[in-house]
């Protein structure tokens, strides 16, 4: 087990490092000169050159990479070209939007998945199962950014329950902040709930068929008790694992949903940074996102390894 973990840990670090190199190289070939963007349409060539020197672009590439990655691993993500402030300073308030959003949508997806999956499993083969799985099938097919527009139409424009977009900030009170995150979290969480609902259904059905439940049922345990006390908790393990594996999709989702709802989160920051060629910010944020996916996958692997010891023996 320990060699399994340390092996995975090493490959995790190497993957992150390679990711950082890939991102850095991409930034080097990205067309568009940040100095020209800052200085605009009347800039003289020598002014652009002066700004290049100020930004350190005249240094060799490998040196810039080493300086950046050296700082990155000790938590210094560099200075934003556009805003001239440390990137960690930009990051702080945005994490306070993106992380709550991701957590809310995860909760929504797990709750929705249990409702729909358990209901379908309990009514296996009946009309309720067909309807629930039909809804799930549609939920899987709806792109989250379109769902976002529909939610805005219904809940923000017709019913006026939630703001159509924007984020009022946590300063105005937690409730106001949460209110502006409800629709985005639903738009992200519901399609995920549909995917997870299908997994939950088959997991519950599978557990219901296992020997210990049959035995318990034979001993007189009621159907609903068997379902809620045994089948659902056991079925949750694969569901939660899938949630972990969906993390990367969730991150990608927050990027587009933050843009639909104009939320000042990390996704929008990355987007703007790409548009403004704030290269240092882009490379730091993308590497951070990649690292977080890699770490989450590592944790999922560990959980898997713990649940299924065959994996840790290196067998395929």
């Amino acid at each position: 087990m320990i060699s399994f973990i340390s092996g995975r840990l090493l490959s995790l670090m190497v993957t992150t490092l390679v990711a950082s190199i890939v991102v850095f190289m991409l930034m080097q070939v990205l067309p568009g000169d940040p100095a020209l963007i800052i200085l605009g349409m009347n800039a003289e060539p020598e002014t652009v050159a002066a700004l290049h020197r100020q930004l350190g672009f005249d240094q060799p590439m490998w040196l810039r990479y080493l300086q950046w990655i050296g700082g990155f691993f000790v938590g210094d993500f560099g200075t934003s070209i556009t805003y001239s402030v440390p990137i960690s300073e930009l990051l702080g308030p945005r994490i306070m939007v993106t992380v709550p959003l991701a957590l809310m949508s995860m909760l929504i997806s797990i709750f929705g998945a249990i409702v729909i999956g358990v209901y379908a499993a309990a009514n296996r083969g009946k009309i309720g199962d067909t309807i629930a799985m039909g809804i799930a099938q549609i939920g899987v097919a709806i792109p989250n950014f379109w769902l976002a527009l529909l939610l805005i139409l219904l809940f923000a424009l017709k019913l006026l329950w939630f703001p159509a977009s924007g984020f009022s900030g946590w300063d105005d009170g937690i409730w106001n902040g949460l209110r502006s995150l409800v629709l985005p979290a639903l738009a992200l969480g519901l399609p995920l709930a549909a995917i997870l609902g299908r997994v939950t259904r088959s997991a519950v059905i599978e557990t219901l068929g296992e020997d210990f439940i049959r035995t318990a049922r034979a001993k007189g345990l009621s159907r609903s008790a068997a379902l809620w006390k045994h089948a659902v908790p056991n079925a949750l393990i694969p569901v939660v694992t899938i949630v972990g594996l969906q993390f990367s999709f969730l991150l990608a989702g927050t990027i587009i949903i933050e843009n639909v709802f104009n939320l000042p989160g990390i996704g929008r920051l990355v987007f703007q940074a790409i548009a403004q060629r704030d290269l240092v910010t882009v490379q730091s944020l993308v590497t951070l996102l990649a690292a977080s996916v890699i770490i989450v996958n590592f944790v999922v692997d560990l959980v898997y390894g713990y649940l299924d010891p065959r994996l840790s023996n290196g067998g395929h």
Binding site: P31, G32, D33, P34, L36, I37, I38, L39, G40, M41, N42, A43, E44, E46, T47, A50, L51, R53, Q54, T82, Y83, S84, V85, E89, L90, P93, R94, L157, L160, P163, A164, S165, G166, G169, N262, P264, L269, A275, Q276, R277
Partner: protein, 492 residues
């Protein structure tokens, strides 16, 4: 929306019941884009100027809403007979927000910094005519030019020519220090910049105690915020299609004005077939500028016939030069030897006016047999490829800079217009000694451009202002990028 209104009414009732204790003295202005920093000498972005121009920083002179140049930190000035020496008498007792005093050394520092070899001033070209700045005494600044420059005073009124203190330049991007009636309070990144009244201001004190610039990039959210009263004013509203909902709102006032921006279909004059004036004229006749303004900006932009807007001094109306006339366009194409039209690409930067304008113009050109392929570009790519590289057939862009007729006289500019007559005219204009002469030459320059049509001039970029009816003193027109709130106040 209805509940927002309800709340607005309720708030109004509460305010009334509390009596007119005191007029409101804080203002929240909504803006589409957040500035990258708050130092106008370190970047070209217009949002920097919206927040800082005359509110935070001041130059020797300033531009008023009517486009005139007025004294600010210079009380008065004299110009030598050869138009090359400007002697400014500086205002006394002016202090920067950090407490240091303003005198001629700041003028010398600011101008010399702008022309220095390592200067990163986005408009370094404005300062290029300056040969030297001298300080005979603390209250007098003598600026000597290399050659007469008609626009010199106007140029020194740009946001890029503001006075700074040597002690604060390093931090001005994040902690701006100027001499204006407002000083910097805080910047919540991604949300707002707050300015507060400067109690030690040298001149007429601001009427507001605090001004907040709030950044709302999404037009729908911006519309909701202003209707709910979360912001008091949106001075440059970017979604013309939402304006009609404000016009029906009893609490709001809509003011459609103009900026000095010129939206043009820029053509690569060095490339075939655009090197032929008849082809350029054919394009002008083939494009219905009114429909373009209608489709891109709900008809708010006034069509223009040259590279000049009605809010600038010396404007000549040349709108009738190229009436919408596809038949005439075809004749001109025939005369130019391309009777069957040709294929061209139009590179489109991201703003809506460009993307939508491209779709409309492509459809119009198709009517006269010109097949236009649309190539959308991100702004960085546009700057690199079209602007710096001159690698394009045509593009749609708003030339936002005021009074920039000089770009057609440059030896190297992206649309490659090279015309000795125009250059001679422009030289005569910069050296003109009397205002009369200047105005006359300005008219000639506009006519020459209209006749040559190096670019198809579309419309003046409008300024859509929406604000609470009780807010007074905001700009309707915007001759230079600015959101001057120094005289703004709430009506009782």
């Amino acid at each position: 929306m209805r509940s927002a209104l309800k709340w607005g009414l309720a708030a109004g009732l509460i305010a009334m019941s509390m009596g007119t204790a005191s007029a409101k003295d804080t203002l929240t202005i909504g803006q589409t884009l957040e500035p990258p920093g708050l130092d106008p000498t370190a970047g070209a972005a217009a949002p920097i100027r919206y927040i800082t121009y005359t509110n935070l920083y001041e130059g020797l002179v300033r531009v008023m809403q009517d486009g005139s140049v007025q004294p600010l930190l210079a009380e008065s000035w004299t110009v030598s007979d050869d138009q090359k020496t400007y002697t400014f008498t500086l205002r006394q007792g002016v202090k920067f927000h950090d407490g240091s005093s303003f005198d001629c050394s700041n003028v010398k520092f600011s101008y010399e910094r702008a022309v220095a070899p390592d200067s990163t001033n986005a408009q370094k070209g404005l300062f290029e005519p300056i040969e030297k700045t001298e300080c005979p005494d603390a209250a007098t600044a003598v600026v000597t030019l290399k050659r007469p420059t008609s626009n010199f005073l106007f140029n020194m009124a740009w946001g890029d020519a503001v006075m700074m203190s040597p002690d604060s330049v390093a931090d001005n991007k994040t902690n701006p220090v100027g001499t204006g009636p407002f000083k910097f309070k805080e910047w919540v990144k991604g949300d707002k910049v707050v300015l507060e009244k400067n109690p030690d201001y040298w001149g007429t004190a601001a009427k507001l105690s605090q001004v907040t610039f709030k950044f709302i990039s999404d037009p729908s959210a911006a519309a909701a915020a202003i209707q709910a009263g979360d912001v008091d004013a949106f001075t440059s509203f970017q979604a013309p299609e939402l304006v009609n909902r404000f016009q029906n709102d009893a609490n709001l006032q809509v003011e459609i004005g103009s900026t000095s921006g010129k939206v043009v279909l820029a053509l690569n004059n060095a490339r075939k077939p655009f090197d032929d004036v008849r082809v350029r004229q054919a394009l002008a006749h083939a494009i219905d500028r009114k429909s373009v303004a209608e489709g891109t900006y709900s008809g708010f932009g006034a069509p223009i016939g040259s590279h000049y807007t009605p809010i600038e001094p010396g404007y000549v109306d040349l709108n009738d030069a190229y009436a919408y006339d596809p038949a005439k366009a075809k004749e001109l194409l025939q005369a130019a030897g391309v009777p069957d039209g040709f294929e061209m690409t139009i590179q489109l930067p991201p703003p809506t006016y460009a993307r939508r304008g491209g779709e409309i113009i492509a459809a119009m050109l198709a009517e006269v047999g010109i097949r236009a392929n649309l190539v959308p570009l991100e702004f960085p790519q546009w700057l690199e490829q079209v602007f710096r590289g001159s690698d394009f057939d045509a593009t749609i862009i708003n030339h936002a800079e005021a009074r920039d007729l000089d770009i057609y006289a440059r030896d190297k500019y992206y649309f490659n217009y090279q015309n000795p007559e125009y250059k001679a005219l422009y030289k005569a204009f910069t050296e003109a000694s009397s205002e009369e002469q200047q105005m006359d030459l300005l008219g000639q320059l506009q006519r020459k451009l209209s006749a040559d049509e190096p670019n198809v001039f579309l419309y003046a970029f409008p300024k859509i202002g929406v604000w609470n009816k009780k807010v007074k003193g905001l700009w309707v027109n915007m001759p230079v990028p600015a959101d001057d709130v120094t005289q703004a106040y709430w009506e009782e």
